[in-house]
């Protein structure tokens, strides 16, 4: 193969990468789509890893001390709850939702003692430059038939807890 052909191929590959890299969301993944021969075997396949767009099945969150869970999630609506059991249940549910619920799926809680209820719904998941997972979420709390809603972002800490960052 002549050097000119190689240069031409490299230029096309570069143009393809430039054209597609940013569209991937964030532009940090400049995949080489010029390798068309590898399309069928280069990916993870439609039937694997939970399908092309499927939310993966996930185990329940590993055991973690209630105090650790509560510590990072006392902001937002949970921080305004007066009842301590409400706080504990809401914080555990928030931890569970952030840890394992697919975005868009609401995880509900209820305090059987007073009938107070709430939901936590992850909305968006991302990884920071340091590899830390963060999730945006919405939270509702209903007390005496009066629902309240808030939005927040929490990031997973090295000890397995989630800390509200906004």
């Amino acid at each position: 193969m002549s050097r000119r052909v190689i240069r031409g191929g490299g230029l096309i590959a570069l143009l393809l990468m430039l054209a597609t890299g940013c569209a991937g969301g964030g532009g940090q993944f400049g995949q080489d789509l010029s390798q068309n021969k590898g399309l069928a075997i280069g990916g993870l396949g439609g039937m694997t890893a939970g399908g092309l767009i499927a939310a993966a099945a996930h185990a329940s969150p590993a055991g973690i001390a209630a105090g650790v869970i509560l510590g990072g999630l006392t902001g937002g609506l949970i921080g305004h709850l007066v009842d301590n059991k409400d706080k504990e249940i809401a914080a555990k549910t928030t931890h569970q939702a952030l840890e394992s619920a697919p975005s868009g799926k609401a995880v509900a809680w209820q305090n059987p003692d007073n009938g107070h209820t709430g939901t936590v719904t992850p909305l968006h998941t991302y990884q920071t430059g340091t590899g830390q997972y963060c999730r945006e979420y919405t939270q509702t709390v209903t007390i005496d038939n009066r629902p309240q809603q808030s939005y927040g972002t929490a990031c997973r800490q090295p000890d397995g807890s989630w800390r509200i960052v906004s």
Partner: protein, 131 residues
């Protein structure tokens, strides 16, 4: 513009959600797959663009990463052969980073995009994933 395209455009004016629902009904997509599609299709236009797909892939990575250490190892990706895993693991260190996962998934995106228009339709996803 074909009659079909005009028709779809008119439907879109009255609500893209209805269009998506119609498409699902035509394809016979499973309810689970439909739910996944609707979650991924954030702008509700009945198609997945690269940005929406990217967000979904990051979510997949997060949910697959059981120990949340920021990498996927073989045991965390069920149903992937050693050869496929090795292909995705470009660094060859036995673990797949988010970047490597995204790269592999976008290869799938290209393979699933049958008409090459840069977005995935319901039909293309169903055909590729058989869901």
């Amino acid at each position: 513009m074909s009659l079909l395209q005009r028709g779809l455009g008119a439907v879109a004016l009255f609500g893209v959600a209805m269009l998506a629902t119609h498409a699902f009904a035509q394809t016979g997509m499973t309810s689970r797959c439909r739910e996944d599609f609707e979650t991924a299709d954030r702008n509700r236009d009945g198609r997945l663009d690269r940005g929406e797909f990217y967000e979904r892939v990051v979510e997949q990575f997060f949910l697959l990463d059981k120990d949340k250490n920021g990498f996927l190892v073989r045991e965390e990706i069920v149903g992937v052969s050693p050869e496929v895993f090795a292909t995705a693991d470009r660094g060859g260190d036995g673990r797949i980073t988010l970047q490597e996962f995204v790269n592999a998934r976008f290869v799938d995106f290209g393979a699933a995009d049958g008409n090459g228009d840069g977005v995935l339709s319901v039909e293309e996803i169903q055909t590729y994933s058989r869901c």
